[in-house]
């Protein structure tokens, strides 16, 4: 069985009780002073207070290793509006508006600001319905729901603390039948006092009493203060009973049950006897498997935590009421939307115009893209086929291949076109040799691509050295002026020219260098 929580937001403290079945597991009290910042509390925005409470809750849940993931919320009378009133018997559909009308009498604000639920009890004697009305301001409910949602705790129910206490009666074995009263108070704890009168478990009257402290005794005499508070309580009980008697004069209280601090219960029992009510004291510790110091906050939260284990006769459910309102709102919005479309007649001319606009826009798009598609087809149709690359290759791949081709073609082009073909220069040489000049050797060396050197070695013999020199010079000029020779050789120079002896005669020897490039290398 999973554990569950009972959380009581009291005026002085927040009380948390974790139970598994009926077994008490954790009892945690969080003082409001721990969640607020003392004197400055009123200046702190509500959102900040909620954040503070959540942080405190989380810390306490973690520290006490609380595992429960669901809770029953138990609220004090200051958060709720509890009213019991009589109404004539009405049809169900008229009942809600009649109750709302009646409730307006007791409330200083609009019923629209309230989440409420009610329960009926038919009174055979007066032949009227007794209505138990319970409401909470939406703002307050949202605030509590927000806290629990942020704690990731599922909410089972929201209860009035005075009604939660009724489970203690069942737990103690006290009978709920007939008209009984239950007074729950914690004078030292200064919690809200609850005085409820029930008829067969249905509340006829309920009152939450806040007892103000007696300033004359504060901090001086605790016993005197306690005694003064008790007297105030007695007065309040008398007033409440007077009111009850006036309202339900024919419904006499049979018995009074007291949930009270041990030290005052005898005095209170005596008081009840004095005003004519037999009173029974309920010792909560007898219902528990362990002794716990008396605290009304604990009793309330413990009773709330038992909501799934001990059912009471009350069916008022604020959570369900909230869900119902939400659903009604949604339905009314849906209805309003649907009502907008009711009776609408479609104008076929408008529908045709709308259709035309859409078709026209599609047609326009087709009209805009068609020339581009044709252009694309033409572009693809004229694309040349290249065997080395697929037509679907990307632009980058194509450009890469093109660059590679260009490099290869450049290399081969320069190999063929910059080549020195020796045929032509060899053809030129015998034609430009002047009379008396002949070559003794010829050598050609290609150093690198496009770079070659032709060396011509020869002899001139004209019996006159000047004429021989002139002949060599003429040979040089002829070479320089012959296009078929200069096509290849750009730098033609005499390297040496000297007189020498050959076969007993004086000759002029020469050496001519012809380079395909300018200057020295």
């Amino acid at each position: 069985m999973n554990s569950s929580l009972g959380i009581y937001f009291g005026p002085k403290a927040i009380s948390l009780v974790e139970v598994k079945g009926r077994k008490l597991i954790n009892n945690i009290q969080i003082s409001h002073s721990a969640a607020s910042s003392g004197e400055l509390e009123e200046k702190v925005p509500a959102e900040a207070k909620v954040i503070g409470i959540i942080a405190l809750f989380k810390e306490e849940l973690r520290r006490n290793r609380v595992e429960a993931k669901e809770a029953t919320l138990c609220l004090s009378g200051k958060d709720l509006i509890i009213r019991t009133f009589e109404m004539p018997v009405l049809p169900r559909e008229e009942l809600q508006s009649a109750i709302n009308f009646e409730v307006k009498k007791y409330m200083p604000f609009k019923t629209e600001e309230l989440i409420s639920d009610f329960q009926l009890k038919f009174d055979k004697i007066s032949r009227t319905n007794i209505v138990l009305f319970m409401g909470i301001k939406k703002e307050a409910l949202d605030s509590y729901l927000s806290i629990l949602s942020q704690l990731d705790i599922k909410l089972n129910a929201i209860e009035y603390s005075a009604f939660s206490i009724l489970r203690c009666l069942k737990l103690s074995g006290a009978s709920e039948s007939g008209i009984i009263g239950i007074l729950a108070a914690d004078l030292p704890g200064k919690d809200e006092v609850n005085f409820t009168i029930l008829e067969n478990g249905f509340p006829l009257f309920s009152r939450d009493i806040t007892l103000p402290a007696s300033p004359e005794y504060m901090g001086k005499d605790a016993e005197a203060e306690s005694s003064a508070t008790l007297e105030k309580l007695k007065t309040e009980i008398r007033m409440s009973l007077d009111y009850y008697d006036r309202k339900f004069s024919n419904k006499n209280i049979k018995k009074m049950y007291l949930l009270f601090n041990q030290e005052h219960h005898l005095e209170l029992e005596a008081f009840m006897a004095e005003i004519g009510f037999p009173a029974t004291f309920i010792d909560i510790n007898k219902c528990l498997d362990r002794t716990t110091p008396y605290s009304l906050g604990f009793v309330k939260s413990y009773s709330a935590s038992l909501s799934k284990v001990i059912k009471n006769k009350l069916t008022v459910d604020l959570l369900a009421a909230q869900a119902k309102i939400k659903s009604l709102k949604e339905k009314s919005i849906q209805k309003e939307i649907l009502s907008l479309f009711e009776g609408i007649k479609l104008d076929y001319r408008m529908a045709a115009a709308a259709l035309f606009i859409i078709i026209a826009s599609i047609g326009l798009g087709f009209y805009r893209t068609q020339p581009l598609r044709k252009e694309l087809e033409t572009i693809l149709a004229v694309r040349p086929r290249v065997s080395v690359i697929s037509p679907g290759a990307s632009y980058g791949e194509l450009a890469g291949k093109d660059t590679e081709y260009k490099r290869k073609l450049d290399a081969l082009g320069s190999l063929v076109n910059k080549q020195v073909y020796i045929t032509e220069p060899l053809d030129v040489l015998p034609r430009v040799l002047p009379k008396g000049v002949w070559l003794t050797s010829l050598s050609l060396n290609k150093r690198s691509e496009g770079k070659a050197e032709l060396t011509l070695e020869g002899t001139a013999y004209l019996s006159d050295s000047d004429k021989e020199f002139a002949a060599v010079n003429e040979f040089l000029l002829s070479l320089k002026s012959t296009p078929a020779f200069t096509k290849y050789f750009k730098d033609i120079n005499v390297t040496s020219l000297n007189s020498g002896r050959s076969q007993e005669v004086m000759v002029t020897n020469f050496l001519i260098s012809c380079k395909t490039y300018q200057g020295r290398e």
């Binding site: 798009g365 081969l412 190999l415 063929v416 045929t423």
Partner: protein, 168 residues
């Protein structure tokens, strides 16, 4: 009074229909605009591709031309060719020595060192001319050294001829 009662619902509904159609048409037009832009970009890209493909096609043709020039032949075949040309030109080959081939990026050079005995300058010219104009292989004279024979009219010639073929 309800809102629905205050307005002529038919008019509102039918006008909404037209407004909705205009919005839908607008969105279709916008979407198509993006499509048109994409198509334009695609066309531009395809035109650029065509330019490159044209260049590649021309390059491929040029390369085919070079493949016809740089015909691959083995060393034995080249020696045969050289011998035949020499015979036709009246040149005597004293020796032929193929040297180590040189692999370059786009082509391979195979040098042949020839020692020739040539009766005259014209015979040598004829031999070199035939060599350089030979169609079945690309032959280039890399080096020439011509010297008169010590006795007689003949010439001693040392030639280095390169046979060039394309790499794959």
């Amino acid at each position: 009074m309800k809102l629905s009662g205050l307005i002529n619902k038919n008019r509102v509904f039918n006008a909404s229909l037209i407004i909705l159609a205009v919005i839908v048409a607008g969105n279709i037009y916008k979407g198509q605009g993006k499509g048109v832009e994409a198509l334009k970009k695609e066309n531009d890209m395809e035109i650029k591709k065509n330019t490159v493909m044209n260049s590649l096609s021309k390059g491929e043709n040029d390369l085919d031309g070079y493949k016809n020039i740089f015909v691959k032949k083995d060393a034995g075949s080249i020696i045969n060719t050289l011998s035949n040309i020499a015979k036709e030109s009246g040149v005597k080959i004293k020796s032929i020595k193929p040297a180590q081939e040189q692999k370059l990026t786009y082509y391979i050079k195979t040098p042949f060192n020839l020692a020739l005995s040539v009766p005259g300058y014209h015979a040598l010219g004829g031999f070199i001319s035939k060599l350089e104009n030979y169609r079945d292989a690309y032959l280039v004279v890399e080096a020439v050294d011509i010297r008169s024979e010590t006795q007689g009219e003949g010439l001693n010639v040392n030639l280095m001829v390169n046979s060039i073929v394309l790499t794959n």
